[in-house]
Symmetry: C2
Subunit: 335 residues, 2 copies
Amino acid sequence: MASIKDVAARSGVSVATVSRVLNGHPSVSPAARERVAAAAAALGYRPNAVARSLRTHQTRTLGLVISDVLNPFFTELARAVEDAARALGYSVVIGNADEDPQLQDHHMSTLLERRIDGLLVSPTDGGSALMTDAAASGTPMVFVDRWIPGLDVPVVRADGRAAVRDLVAHLHSLGHRRLAIIAGPAATTTGNERVDAFREAMREFGLPLPEEYIGQGDFRAASGRRATARFLDLPEPPQAVFAADNLMALGAMDEIRSRGLRVPQDVALAAFDDIAWFVHTDPPITAVAQPTAELGHAAVRALIDRVEGREAASVTLSARLVVRRSCGEPEGSKR
Amino acid sequence: MASIKDVAARSGVSVATVSRVLNGHPSVSPAARERVAAAAAALGYRPNAVARSLRTHQTRTLGLVISDVLNPFFTELARAVEDAARALGYSVVIGNADEDPQLQDHHMSTLLERRIDGLLVSPTDGGSALMTDAAASGTPMVFVDRWIPGLDVPVVRADGRAAVRDLVAHLHSLGHRRLAIIAGPAATTTGNERVDAFREAMREFGLPLPEEYIGQGDFRAASGRRATARFLDLPEPPQAVFAADNLMALGAMDEIRSRGLRVPQDVALAAFDDIAWFVHTDPPITAVAQPTAELGHAAVRALIDRVEGREAASVTLSARLVVRRSCGEPEGSKR
DNA sequence: CTGAAAGCGCTTACAG
DNA sequence: CTGAAAGCGCTTACAG
């Protein structure tokens, strides 16, 4: 592949001049500019970004470590991140941790070795040594969606508390009294927060929340199914199940169906995270919607602020309840 | 950030020796090995992959350009690609073309400038100059799913012909005679092939396929909806609609519903691409399933073969029909 | 087993 | 406006 040297030779100037025209430096004569452009085109010259990065100490690349690409919430987030980054002249490389702390560390290492300019992460677990190091090491970092308490890293997230309260109010108004929740991993902030918000709302409505109505999940479909099975095996099963993410809601639906039960007639179902498919499931699912694209954009802005030496603050957006038909909503109600 | 020089200084050896222990070169004394390891750990040394790449002329990175990350088929493909690549010691960086040829070229350029070792692409359009150049330029390349005829690049794909024929047979056996198809962009191979296979099967079953039963889509939901609207406005609307991808099927479902019609009672619906959500839609959707993960794995194997100087052949896997309930299948039929 | 040195492809002060 | 030169952080033949 042609290098800057080849372009210099062909256009009869030094590599310094070639570099200048390639970078749009103003002090180059029009003649030189033209000859270099012609030579570069003729040779099919393509700048070597790795050499440039070594020299300039920047890669114009952001890393994004997410816990599960197959989860539509994260896919959408990744998409928003890439869009925002591109608009600001950055590329993004994604590491999919697959909810596995070791794989997460693998991606963090790889990204750090590649000298990405900044790192966006939605941590899978409670924080490994690597995560702490990275935060301290000087690589600009920002947490999105999930975060790790105690680290001095800005957090861009949505607060679902009010929306979860609205959901409990909604279920209560539909006559449901025995409400259960499928929680995410206790090691994740989102895992905890959603349960906390739910517990608080239940208290507000004077509804009991026995331990056996709190199922333990891991944000994947299979765990939602297992937790639901446990609920349904109870002598007094819940009337409504709230899954702390969309994949676990899917698992819950599978389990309910496989027992010949119906949603919402036999068990009401609601989910945290709203995704395009929820409109098309049978029945359409009532969910707490996060402003996913805004989260991605805000996270990129915050990260690039840090990368470029500006201050970056945490940002908290809010979620909202989207009512559909999975909780026994009356037929005529707005969808 | 500490460099190899710092590690050398701290351990009292040359950078050459440090490099050797870091790379597991055999001829290093155990004593040196130990001192270097200790120094590296103490300094929190993290090798600089960009310097290494500049020197070795390899990045151990593969590029993957797909047409739409939000399409579950491609998300799954990307996931499989990453898994396979990681197992072989490579990272992958994804470029999302968003079905936009210009954006596709942007990603191709970026990837090429970053000197990825090889490129996996599922082309959005019929092939830009950049695509042709890249194929000729020496960067190892492999097409997955979609490809561009006329380029000397191995293709890893699934042949849906037999499965599409099975689908037509299935629809025919259920009594449907007026079958319509929502095609993908004519500039994509998958866009064409699926229509061809459909047309051929229709002929085999002695079914007419009038022009107005061939809707033009672009693999996105909105286009599926528009095409379906056109079908339903026809004086004699089709009894069954086959969408050439999952997103267009979603759009078709939206349009059918918004007119107060039901699937499958009023219109039967089937899709190319099977995705997890099709089990949960109302009704569950009959679809042609591609062996997505296998496609991803085979594509990576082929690409790495080329990267590492081995021969790589094209591979064609086959798709299969998955019968569910969206075509008017009798209640008791196997799902 | 070890080190000095060259070189990967760029950018950028410095001098003219 | 232009070029020679240094240097980014590595790896690796070469010599010892």
